[in-house]
């Protein structure tokens, strides 16, 4: 294990931001800490970097307890959201900073700076100052600077947060390729699920100071461990229902559900692309009225209203949508292909932005 975190607690005044967090990051993996703002992900990253100290708990790098070591003794690379480049130094001076303060010989610094600038494809910009670079270029300089001492761990705090959409897209792919080349254990913080899915090997979902789920992108999306994860990873429709035995009921629809004792209220979650639209009533379907059609390029989002459930949304591919030829006002029937059932008590949906409800 490259990073082992055990029972970490941290509070600022009366505000507890990390509650008993434990996490393992294997060697060479790229892990995303994903969650809404205020969930504690940045604090966790800063504790790993040595910029904050935990109130309780252990942090080990490669088996070594490092809680007592200061930031400068940890040899981790850290990339900030707003780059934090030294504006009075050229690109080359910024990249070589960590080696200069370690008093390495000039030739060695020179060689390493050249190597890193080639890696981030900024050889031509070595004599420029940060204010003469674009945001994407600055972030690449920041990354090269963080890698200068070949750190054991690379930490990235919302590295693409300050960039515009297209640059962000490019940099994500580039970061992934870079990681595949270098295999440095990396932890990166983001609130953007698309970014986490595209870049990381594993995703750590955090909410209100706790880890909700850890898994591969496919795992957390397909088998969400909690209503929070379900709601955070994309749009979802929520139906109020109840569980009895190993069956869940929504109005007169019936689904398989994890066993529960007696009758308890439950929320039934269905992703927009897992709802089927039919013109005619089929067994196990629910009546609804089309209210709006939103073209999304390769897909169409259909917004509907259903008695007792309010607004719903369904995502159809273009061909299916053309075959149905829907128009606002049409009466249709919806049948879920796949549902996920959670007890209503586990769901604090109001703290989140989930569409479809």
């Amino acid at each position: 294990m490259s990073i082992e975190i055990r029972g970490l607690w941290k509070s600022f005044g009366t505000n507890t931001v990390l509650k008993d967090v434990s996490l393992d990051v294997p060697d060479g993996e790229l892990v995303a800490l994903l969650g809404p703002s205020g969930c504690g992900k940045t604090t966790l990253l800063r504790i790993l970097a040595g910029l904050e100290t935990a109130d309780a708990g252990d942090v080990r790098h490669a088996g070594e307890e490092i809680s007592s070591r200061s930031a400068r003794e940890r040899n981790v690379g850290l990339v900030f959201q707003h780059y934090a480049l030294f504006r009075h130094m050229t690109v080359a001076e910024n990249v070589g900073f960590a080696l200069r303060v370690r008093k390495r010989p000039k030739e060695e610094i020179e060689a390493r700076v050249n190597e890193l600038l080639a890696l981030v494809q900024l050889d031509a910009y070595r004599a420029r100052y940060p204010h003469q670079l674009s945001g994407g270029q600055r972030q690449r300089v920041a990354l090269a600077r963080a890698l200068a001492t070949s750190p054991r761990i690379l930490l990235l705090d919302e590295p693409f947060g300050a960039l515009d959409a297209r640059v962000r897209q490019e940099l994500r792919r580039w970061l992934r390729r870079l990681h595949d080349e270098l295999h440095v254990t990396s932890v990166f913080v983001t609130h953007d699920q698309e970014e986490a899915f595209e870049v990381s090997d594993r995703i750590v979902l955090m909410n209100q100071g706790r880890i909700e789920q850890v898994g591969s992108p496919a795992q957390v999306f397909e088998e969400p461990a909690s209503p929070f994860v379900m709601r955070f990873l994309g749009a979802v429709n929520v139906f109020q229902g109840h569980v009895e035995g190993d069956r869940a009921y929504v109005q007169d629809l019936e689904f398989a559900a994890p066993g529960g004792a007696g009758r308890t209220p439950a929320h039934v979650f269905v992703r927009p692309h897992e709802l089927e639209i039919h013109r005619a009533a089929v067994p196990g379907s629910l009546a609804a009225t089309v209210s709006r059609l939103v073209p999304l390029g390769a897909a169409v989002r259909v917004e509907l209203t259903a008695a007792g459930n309010g607004a719903l949304e369904v995502e159809l591919d273009l061909r299916r949508s053309e075959a149905l030829a829907l128009a606002p006002g049409d009466r249709v029937h919806l049948s879920p292909r796949r549902v996920r059932v959670f007890p209503a008590s586990a769901d604090q949906g109001d703290s989140l932005t989930a569409s479809g409800l």
């Binding site: 930031a71 850290l78 009075h88 960590a98």
Partner: protein, 288 residues
């Protein structure tokens, strides 16, 4: 597909463009007029006054041993005082910007006192404290340090009146400083001292230079507080502004103006130099 004629965008007017805000002519015209009335015209009368003297006479006055000694003291003590103020001003600004302690707002207010005090009051107060029988002077005298009535006294007075400048120019820069820069330096392995030297000092340099220039200029023109503490001994503790005053009291307006012109020219050159240095530092820190 046919290519339609694309309208060629009109080339921007060659040469210098005044920017989007109107009123360049008006505001510049006013600035020139204002500076002329307030600064240039009074200063040129000074040159005019001194032109009543012949070259030989003027040279005899401005290059007299007494005058030369006063330049040395005035420029030397002003530069030294401004230098001391840069070092300790940055320190005070650091404490005020970085730490929250009881009485901080009191300290913050005390910093501006040298601005508000009539200079004669400062001079009397400093003399009382640093004179051989004063609170501090009493303890310095046995050590062989003569604080009042010596060039050192001049330096003390000039340091006192120049104190606020560096603090007030550096403090806002320190307060705006992004904490991430220091964190980045720490994570990259820099110690506190290395971070200060390689990261903070270059950022503070332009503001500190501004403070230095202001403190220096103020010290050079200072008269009221110095005459009390210096003792005004010709060739030893007599500053140039005092020499000007002495000439004026003898109704020698032309002689006074001649010395003043020398002071003016020299301080203009020094301030110009500091400004150039500042511009260079600013370009380097990317805030050109």
């Amino acid at each position: 597909m046919t290519t339609a004629a694309v309208p060629v965008p009109r080339a921007p007017r060659a040469g210098w463009s005044p920017g989007v805000l109107p009123g360049f002519g008006l505001s510049t015209g006013f600035t020139v007029l204002y500076l002329s009335v307030v600064v240039l015209v009074p200063l040129s009368t000074l040159a005019l006054r001194s032109s009543a003297l012949s070259w030989e006479e003027a040279w005899r006055i401005v290059a007299s041993p007494r005058a030369l000694a006063s330049y040395r003291l005035s420029f030397g003590a002003s530069l030294a005082a401004a230098g001391v103020n840069v070092v300790f001003g940055v320190l005070v600004a650091w404490v005020l910007a970085r730490y929250r302690f009881p009485g901080r707002s009191l300290v913050d207010a005390v910093v501006d006192l040298p601005f508000a005090l009539p200079t004669a009051v400062s001079g009397i107060a400093l003399t009382a404290v640093y004179a051989p029988n004063g609170w501090i002077g009493r303890h310095l005298a046995p050590l062989g340090v003569k604080a009042a009535f010596s060039p050192l006294g001049v330096g003390i007075a000039l340091t006192f009146i120049g104190l606020p400048f560096v603090i007030r120019t550096v403090q806002p820069v320190l307060e705006d400083l992004d904490a991430e820069l220091e964190e980045a330096a720490a994570v990259l392995g820099a110690g506190r001292w290395q971070t200060f030297l390689h990261v903070l000092v270059p950022i503070l340099l332009p503001a500190a230079l501004t403070g230095f220039a202001l403190a220096f200029a103020r010290a050079l023109g200072e008269y009221g507080s110095v005459v009390f503490i210096s003792g005004n001994m010709p060739l030893r503790t007599e500053i140039s502004p005092l020499l000007v005053m002495t000439r004026l009291e003898q109704y020698d307006y032309a002689g006074a103006a001649a010395i003043a012109v020398v002071l003016l020219g020299a301080s203009f050159l020094i301030l110009l130099g500091v400004n150039r240095l500042q511009a260079w530092a600013r370009v380097r820190t990317g805030r050109a």
